[in-house]
Every structure is written in C-alpha cells, then in structure tokens.
Amino acid sequence: MNRLSRRRFLFASGVTAAGALAAGATQVHWTELFAAAQTNPLRPDQGVLVVVTLYGGNDGLNTVVPAGDPAYQQARPELAYQPHEVLDLGDGLGLNPGMTGFKSLWDDKRLAVVRGVGYPVPDHSHFRSMAIWQTASPSTSVPTGWLGRWLDTTGDNPLLAVSVEPVLPPLLAGQHGAAVSLPVGGLKMPAGQLGAAFLALGGTQAGDSVATARAARSVVDLQDAVRVLGGAVHGSLGGTVPAPAQQSPLADQLDLVASLVEAGVPTRAYSVSLGGFDTHADEKATQQRLLTELDGALSPFVQRMRRSGRGQQVVVLVYSEFGRRVAANAGAGTDHGTAGPVFLLGAGVRGGFYGTQPSLSELDNGDLKESTDFRSIYATVLAKVLSTDPGRVLGDYNGRLDSVLL
C-alpha cells in the first residue's frame, strides 16, 4: 500500500489531479452552510476543533524557552533569550517574549503546553515531515489526511470541515471527499454593471464540460459567499469585536472562524495557518515577529470564544512540522530539527505542562529526542472534541493524552 499511497497523498496535496481536493473546494454552497446553521445548528455537546498549522518548522526551543539552562545558552549564543526576557511558566521554561496573550491564557489555566512532541525516526524534509503530521502516519505514506479520514467516518458531509486557507491542506483530504474551502478576504464584489456582468458568468449551461461547469460554479459560489458572508470577516455575523483596520491574515482567518462558530454553523473542524517559520538565518527577530503575530491573532480569538456558549466548545491545536536543531548554525539561524511543543487552547483545555521537556545534553545527532507522540494528541481531540473513536482514524495507534482536556 505504501508505494501507491504516497502518490495518493501527493494527489491530495495538489501534485496531480486532486480529485478529492477539487470536490471539496467547490461543491458546497455557502448558503448550504448557513441553511445548516438554521436547520441543524451546532449542538451544545458538539466540540469544535480549530487546527493552526505553522509552516516551515517553528523553533520550539525559542518558543517555550529553557532560558535558564546553561546548555541552551551554550548551544546558541547569538540566538538565546535570557531568563529575564521570557515569560515565566515555571519548570525552568518561559514563553517567547512576543507571546503575552498566550501568557495570560496560561495564567487562566486555558493553555496546555505539550512538550517534546514528535514521532519516531524523524524526517528533516519539510514536505515529508508535514505529510507525516497531516496524514498522522509516520512510517508509511497514506493517501488521506487525519481529519479527512475523520470526515470519511462521518458519512461524507464536507460541511463538517472547513479550510480557511487559499489552498486546501492535505490534512483535510479524505478518501471519499474533502473539506470545503472558503476564501477569507476579498469578498467585496465589483459594483454596478461590471459586477452584474460578472455574476452572469455563473450558472449552468448545456454542453459544459466538467471543468467549464466548475469554473461557472465558482462564480455562483462566490456570489453566495458575498451575499451570506460578505461582512463576516468584519464581525457583523454576531461578532462583538470589530476587526482592526489592518490585521494579519491569520487574524482574518480566525475572525471568519469565530463568526461561523457563533452563527451556529455545524462545522466541527477548521483549518487555518501561518507560514514563514523556516528560519535558517537571522532567526531571532523573524521568529519573534511571527510568534507575536500568532499571539496577536490567536489570543483574542480564544478570549472571544470563551465569551459565548458555542465558543466554549472550541479547542485550538497549534503545531508545526518539526522543531529545529539545538545548536545555532553559522548564519544566526537553525537548521531543520525534530520534536517541538504543541499548544492546546480553549475553555475546555486543562492548562499546564504535558510531556517531558527533551534533554539538551542527550541529543540524537544534534537533535532533541521526542518524548510525546503527536498522535496521542490527535487521539485525544478525536475522542473528546470530535466524539470519534480514534481507532477509526489512527488505526492501531492507541496512545492518549486525555488529561489535557476537561
């Protein structure tokens, strides 16, 4: 299976025809999404998972920082934060200075930090390692993403999972279908004559090929999106916090998710992302800027979700494909590494540390040794947030980290 299936994965990730991807990307009307919110709204017992992917390999050691450890200071003289600079979490660890909102959530016991998360036999390629995280299959390649397989277990209802990214990520591609993909910004339709003409390009036409019909359908879907959700980005669908005039794309994505959750859309899983973490050089300033952006987008989102009943059903999972090498390289950056921290945030999260912090003295070829298998986190959110038997998604893997969720 494994040889053919790598190809199937590439399929889903857009390398080839991407059947499932295309099916998901355009088959669902926004109106259906909101009709569902009316007829079959999110129930109080249904958890909602928001997955935040940090592309590029976030440096875990400068995110949850062992600033007081001499081995840390020694390994990266130019990159290290000093103990007084980081936001103290106890256990000799502190958050990156840019993550003040995370620190507030930590103090409120709504941030869980799972340490040393990875998988056996680490792969240092972004492409492969991200594939491993997104398919939840460390040793063999499989054609489907882990949330895609979850989607398959629910009976092919693509409304249950939504990607708020320009391109549908492989984690949402199932065997039979894929999540629906929604654009986050640019929902302003051209006005007047031009807009009217543009909309007329949508609709059905006898003799259309599949692709041509799909092109027309994308215009129809866009029209629905604008009509139903045109203001969602700016919080007009029940949101209480008006969006700042200029905010990061991640904040835009999360605003849209918040609006959908608050509107009662029965979607159970959302995917958003932030890129740029491949900090081979000049890492410190770049990473702190990115973590500040993450913090500035995610903390208000979590706080907003805590204020509404439906919002309290939301659990956020933050991960990256790998951490980075312990020692800095010659360019004041770090090369691809292995294990890193995973964050869980939300009203239903039991704050605190989980997993053990990897040793800085016992390294595996210059890399941290993984102490927690990422699938134990997936298994837990599958069971406790998505109410699904993890075995149906993760096969015979049976690790769990259940205490992290209330």
Partner: protein, 426 residues
C-alpha cells in the same frame, strides 16, 4: 465524443503547445500550425540583468535586510523577464516546455535563494526541453539550483541524504511503485558528493565526498554515479509511459489517456527518448482534438495567454499588483509550492480565484488597445472581443453576461477574460 472543428483544433494546439493565439494565429490550418509549433526557430533573447549574486550578509540586521531586499528585487526582475518571454516569444513551444519542465522538476527560489541559479536552470529547460530526456535529466541531476533545493549538498558518503534520489525516481523520471526503499537508499549513494559554489554558480563533484562503491539499484549492480543512475532509471520499462503520462496531464487533460494511447506515445519517444517525437505523436492522436479534452488553464497560462492575445507586455502593468495577483491565485513562477509542482485541473477553480482573476483582468484590460471593439456597434462587440481573445464561440450564458457591458469596452474585455470558456481551454 465529438471532434473540434479545424479552427477550434488550431486554437487548441496554440493553447496547449504554447500560451494561446496571438492575432492572426488562427488563420493557418491544423497541420501547418502543428508543424510550425513543433519546429520552433531559435528565439534568442538577452538574459535579464539580475546583477551579481547577493553576498551572504553577516549578522548585522541592516545588512541582512539590505541583502533580502536586493534578492527580492532580483526575483522580481527574473519573474518579469520570464513572463515577458512567454508573452512575446515567437517560439511558443520552447517556452511552454520550459514552463512544463519547471513544474515537473519543480524547484523553488524560496529555498534556493539565488535568482542567478534559478535562471541558469530555466535556461537549461529552454535549451534542452524539446530534445532527448537523457540529456535534460543528466543536466538536472547536477543542476546547482536543484542540488540546493533537494539538499544534495548534505548527501555525502559519510551521511547520505535521500531527498534527490527519492524524488528523481518518484516524481521526475520513473513514477511511484516502480522502485523500493532499498533502491532509494542505494540511489542516494550514487548521488553523493555534489557541492554548489554560489559565487560562481557552478556544481562540482567532490570525489572525497562521493561513495565510489558498488550499488545495487533496480536490480543492477555497479559503481553508479549521477549520470549512470539517470541512464539506469530512464531505461526502466515504466519510465517512458510515466513521462508520456506527465506530458499528457499538463498539455491535454487531467484525465489519463487510455493505455493504447500511452503505448503509442511511449513508442514514439523511443530509445532516443525524444520529447519532440513524443509531442509529435501526441498531437497526431485522434483524441487530441476530442472536444472532451478540456484543460483548466493554470493562472500563469491564463494571464500570459491574455497578454499575448492583447499584445501587452508585462512591464506595462504595475509589477507589484501583477505579482500580488498571481500570488493570490496561488502561482508565482519560480515558486512552486513543493517538489511535486503545482496543483492541476479544477483545484484552480475556487471562489476566491474567480474574484482575483477579475481583478487581474481589469488590470490588463486598462492597458489594452480596444479600438477593434469601440469601432463597431455595441451589438457587434461581443463578436469583436471573441475574435480578439481567439475564443471558439461564446455560450449563451457568456453572451448574456457580455450584453450587460457592451457600452464599456474595457469592462467587456475583462468579463470576456473571465468567461468559463476562456479560463478553461476547450
């Protein structure tokens, strides 16, 4: 199944073996057009003036910022130059194959960080893309940008890195399912020892880093090196069909061809591994002119086709807005998302893409010469814009849309460029 009429078939040839028709291109017949396209005349153009490779800055933040800006400027120059080549070339197939091979041996400047090396690879595709695959593949396996992209510098006799070996078999030359993990490991040994000098822009084999031992790959045992590894992989029975299938996928249809078609294409490619012969056979296939073989234009193909039809050069458009538009559509030349290249087919047809396409079309339309539209009566304008873009025929749906903007030629042109029968090559 129905066949396209001759004019539509000519338009398809120009779409698929080039970037769409220019004014007057549709006057020739199918055979003449195919012959012209398949035998491109040399179309030399001066290389872009990128300047010298940007030296790696030290640790000073200001110097780093300056270096990053300098590289970004070179990247902008490079992208603009290639788009201009695609738009203005008199040898469309050469550029189309350069584009195809760029997506096939997908290498991204985002990791390579050297516009000079990306240009060098691009020129290799341009010079060798229509010849024999042995030559092209041997060039690519020792191409500096490729070596940097797939971590080949980390592949040494002491610590082999499998990245280039794996992707060469899986994505470039053979296809999945025709090799084992042991083959990957052994192939990595064959490819050990390559280093890249960023200053001179050259790749070199460092004998002391190379594994000179015997390797068993795909059942053959000898002291394989990069060239003999390429030859071995290309000689596998599965390779010709794989290559033919990839060309079909990008030039004809995302639906794989029937087995007998693949057999004929592989036979034409033959022992000389001729891309030219393969393409000649491809356009001669009866199913090439089957009306069902529609192909979604990738964002770059759509934009370049539009500019070609209208005789607009990319530098007439605001460079940053142009690049932002392509980025929003998910396709910037020299920046494929991963080693597998860009998505295909209906994956491009998302709601957000529809809107971005309209914005880009307006940008282009603002610079277009629309006298051929304005000089005719409003009722004749949909036909005038159809001829301008080289569309076979407007559907009733598009006619209804165009009717709303006949009094505004630039809006008319922008809407026409977004019509489903234009965004999807029929």
């Amino acid at each position: 199944m129905a066949n396209l009429d001759e004019s539509a078939a000519v338009r398809r040839l120009l779409d698929r073996l080039g970037f769409g028709p220019r004014p007057g291109d549709l006057a020739a017949g199918f055979t003449a057009t195919a012959t012209t396209l398949l035998n491109p005349v040399p179309d030399p153009a001066p290389p872009p003036n990128l300047g010298a490779p940007v030296a790696r800055p030290g640790t000073d933040a200001a110097a780093r910022k300056q270096a990053a800006q300098a590289i970004a400027q070179q990247e902008l120059t490079l992208v603009g130059w290639w788009l201009d080549r695609m738009v203005t070339t008199g040898a469309p197939l050469t550029e189309r194959l350069t584009w195809f091979w760029h997506g096939h041996f997908a290498t991204s400047e985002q990791k390579v960080r050297s516009p000079q090396l990306m240009l060098r690879q691009n020129e290799t595709f341009r010079q060798q893309g229509i010849g024999d695959l042995t030559t092209l593949a041997r060039s690519l396996i020792a191409d500096p940008a490729m070596l940097l992209w797939l971590d080949a510098q980390q592949n040494t006799v002491r610590a082999p890195n499998e990245n280039l070996a794996r992707e060469s078999m899986e994505l470039f030359l053979l296809g999945i399912g025709h090799y084992t993990e042991d083959d990957v490991r052994a192939a990595a040994r064959a490819l050990t020892g390559w280093t890249v000098d960023r200053t001179t822009g050259t790749a070199r084999l460092a004998p002391r880093r190379h594994d000179g031992g015997t390797k068993t790959i795909l059942g053959a045992s000898q002291n394989f090196d990069a060239d003999s590894f390429v030859d071995l992989v290309l000689s596998q029975p599965a390779s010709p069909r794989f290559i033919a299938g990839r060309l079909w996928f990008r030039l004809v249809s995302a639906t794989p061809p029937p087995s007998d078609v693949l057999d004929r294409l592989a036979a034409a490619y033959g022992p000389t591994r001729s891309i030219h012969a393969l393409l000649t056979a491809l356009v001669a296939e009866p199913s090439f002119i089957d009306s069902a073989q529609t192909l979604v234009k990738q964002p770059v193909e759509w934009l370049v086709g539009l500019l070609r039809a209208l005789g607009i050069r990319p530098d007439q458009l605001p460079a940053k807005a142009l690049l932002a538009g392509l980025r929003a559509l998910g396709q910037v030349p020299f920046e494929p998302p991963n080693v597998g290249g860009w998505p295909a087919d209906t994956a491009w047809l998302t709601t957000s893409a529809a809107l971005t396409r309209l914005h880009l079309a307006e940008l282009v339309s603002a610079k277009a010469d629309v006298t051929s539209i304005t000089k005719v009566s409003t009722s004749a304008r949909p036909e005038a814009v159809r001829r301008l873009l080289g569309v076979d025929a407007w559907t009733a749906r598009t006619m209804a849309a165009l009717a709303k903007v006949t009094d505004n030629p630039r809006a008319l042109l922008a809407i026409a460029a977004c019509a489903p029968e234009y965004t999807v090559s029929q």
